[in-house]
Symmetry: D2
Subunit: 119 residues, 4 copies
């Protein structure tokens, strides 16, 4: 993946909403709900699959296409929320990786999936 | 927001998982579950707020910080899934905007929030 | 609502799964995923509505029917999980109400929606 | 599980809300959000477990206690929503089982987890 111009996508989404007079519906609360609904549509694809089957989803072109669609929906709502709140996705992402590396030090977290509160 | 180097973040997440021997847990199925859990943590912040309150979340620095944290978590899991599946976020996002503009033509969608199947 | 015979419903669900050889898919993990997907389908109905509109959903027979369907799906998956784990819904529900009354004493919780950790 | 007196639980929840002046927050929209958040808390318990581990959750008393708590929370919000909307849980549940038996006839559904739209 190359660099993504998030501002461009964010601006397109804002124009999309303006054109349809949709900002009246796009409160942060509603957008968060819509985002969670889209992530559940992604979960639905995998709910009866084994983990191995989920990892081989690319071998099922029809299902993989559905995954791409849901991933796109999730990304678009996330960019929309970040755009409305002026959250810099790259900045908060990098800060979070740093924070996670402190919550999950290698020596404690290695090979187990416990939450940091249980380490 | 400036351009985001998604590959860099994706590579950091892979290295993070390798260092902790976490790829055994990171099936696509499990990552989708974790992504949905993070989006619910975002929803939780807004569940008892009015829509207006959600739009003014930036005025509450403590809550806004929580929003940034959850947005970061969501973004990281999404990048992780996209990285594992070689999905180009920008490409699928732009294709989806195009598709949505066809599903929701301005003349039909203007001022209402109906799903395209009900338009 | 009258008394519900949960065991009867739980037994019907088990027979339904046996008849279709579905217990192989019905791990608790998968059932929890499916339950969360169904709750999101309920959320989807309300995501662009105002709170007032959601409270008047009964005035929209088509939408209300959808709500009933999703409520049923959620209930069935919950009974299924409880049945598999031998959890007595009534007993845990009553214990939880008691616990909540301690976490949210009237004098502290009255008129505000803060989480008990913030009271 | 014996018979559950849903009306009693529903009435307790209504009194709980009245005592705390919480009906102002308990729109159906908000309750649906809260319900989805609770189901994600259940999902979180299982997200890094194998399916076998999830089926043996009873062997881990601490985790099993968490499962019971989340199941209780989900049930309470579901009863709350049903109570507010005068939905008879038993009636919609039985109707749904009947409907599902038509959507998933044994001969077509046996041994596969396909959605009825794909059968």
């Amino acid at each position: 993946m190359k660099n993504i111009d998030i501002s461009e996508i964010s601006n397109e989404l804002e124009q999309f909403a303006i054109d349809r007079d949709w900002n009246q519906f796009h409160s942060i609360k509603n957008l968060a709900m819509a985002l969670s609904v889209e992530t559940s549509e992604l979960v639905e694809i995998f709910q009866w699959m084994s983990e191995d089957q989920s990892n081989s989803i690319v071998d099922n072109p029809k299902k993989f296409k559905e995954v791409e669609e849901e991933v796109a929906d999730i990304f678009l709502y996330l960019v929309r929320i970040a755009g409305k709140l002026n959250i810099d996705l790259e900045s908060v992402a990098k800060a979070k990786i740093q924070k996670n590396s402190e919550k999950y030090p290698v020596e404690k977290a290695k090979g187990n999936a416990k939450k940091y509160t249980e380490l």
